[in-house]
C-alpha cells in the first residue's frame, strides 16, 4: 500500500515537472520576441529609441504607429517602475538608465535620439549618447 502510494506520488510529480518544462519551453520564446508589427516599424526607422527610456515615432504619426508605441511604452513603464522600486531609485532615473542601454543596443539602421533631441540612424559606430551614460 505504502509502496503503491509512493509510486503514485512520484509519477504525479514527474508528470507535473514535465508539464511545467513543456509549458515554460513554449512560453519563453513567445514573450522574448518582438511583436511583428513593432519589429518591422523599428526596422523601417518609423520607431526609434528615445533618451528617456521609451520609444517614439520618428516620422509622421499614424494611428497604427501610435498604438504600437503606446503599447510598448506602457509595458516598459510597468517594468521600470518595478525595477526602480527594487533598486531604491525613481522611475525617471531607472528609465533614463535603461534608455542609455537601449540606445547602445540598437542595431545599425535603427533610429535613436541623440542628446540634442534629433533622430539619428545607428551606424556601426557607437551611438551619440548622454554624457551621463555609462
Amino acid at each position: 500500500m505504502g509502496d503503491f502510494m509512493t509510486k503514485r506520488f512520484t509519477r504525479a510529480a514527474l508528470f507535473g515537472a514535465a508539464f511545467a518544462l513543456a509549458f515554460g519551453g513554449i512560453m519563453a520564446p513567445a514573450s522574448a520576441q518582438r511583436d511583428p508589427a513593432y519589429a518591422s516599424a523599428r526596422a523601417a526607422g518609423q520607431i526609434g529609441e528615445k533618451m528617456d527610456g521609451y520609444i517614439g515615432i520618428v516620422g509622421s504619426e499614424t494611428a497604427e504607429l501610435r498604438r504600437i508605441v503606446n503599447d510598448i511604452n506602457i509595458k516598459r513603464r510597468a517594468v521600470y517602475s518595478q525595477r526602480a522600486q527594487a533598486n531604491n531609485a525613481t522611475l525617471e532615473e531607472y528609465a533614463l538608465t535603461a534608455g542609455c542601454q537601449a540606445i547602445l543596443a540598437t542595431s545599425p539602421g535603427e533610429k535613436y535620439q541623440a542628446p540634442d533631441g534629433s533622430w539619428q540612424t545607428r551606424t556601426s559606430a557607437p551611438p551619440m549618447r548622454d554624457s551621463r551614460c555609462p
Binding site: 520576441q33 511583436d35 517594468v79 525595477r83 532615473e93 538608465t97 542601454q101 543596443a105 551621463r132 551614460c133
Partner: protein, 84 residues
C-alpha cells in the same frame, strides 16, 4: 574710544550698544552701496552663477545613480526582449 571704554565703567553698556548700532549702520550703508552697484551693473551677473551650480549638482547625482543602475537595467532589457 577704546581707552575710554576700558576706563569708564559706568558708560560701558551704552557705549557698547551705540558701537553696535554704529557697526550695523556701517553694514547697512555698505549693503545699500553694494545693491546699488549691482543694480547699476545689471541683474544678469547676479542670476548667472546660481543657476548652473544647481544643474551641475543634478548632473553629478544622476550620473552616480545611472552607474549604479546600469547593470540591472541591462539585465531588464535582456529579460524583456519583447518590449525592447
Amino acid at each position: 574710544m577704546r581707552t575710554r571704554e576700558l576706563t569708564d565703567h559706568e558708560g560701558r553698556a551704552t557705549t557698547r550698544s551705540m558701537q553696535g548700532m554704529a557697526g550695523m549702520n556701517g553694514l547697512k550703508i555698505s549693503a545699500v552701496a553694494g545693491l546699488a552697484s549691482l543694480a547699476l551693473s545689471g541683474c544678469v551677473t547676479v542670476e548667472a552663477p546660481t543657476e548652473p551650480i544647481v544643474i551641475e549638482l543634478n548632473v553629478n547625482i544622476r550620473q552616480e545613480v545611472i552607474y549604479r543602475l546600469a547593470e540591472d537595467a541591462g539585465n531588464t532589457i535582456e529579460e524583456n526582449a519583447d518590449i525592447f
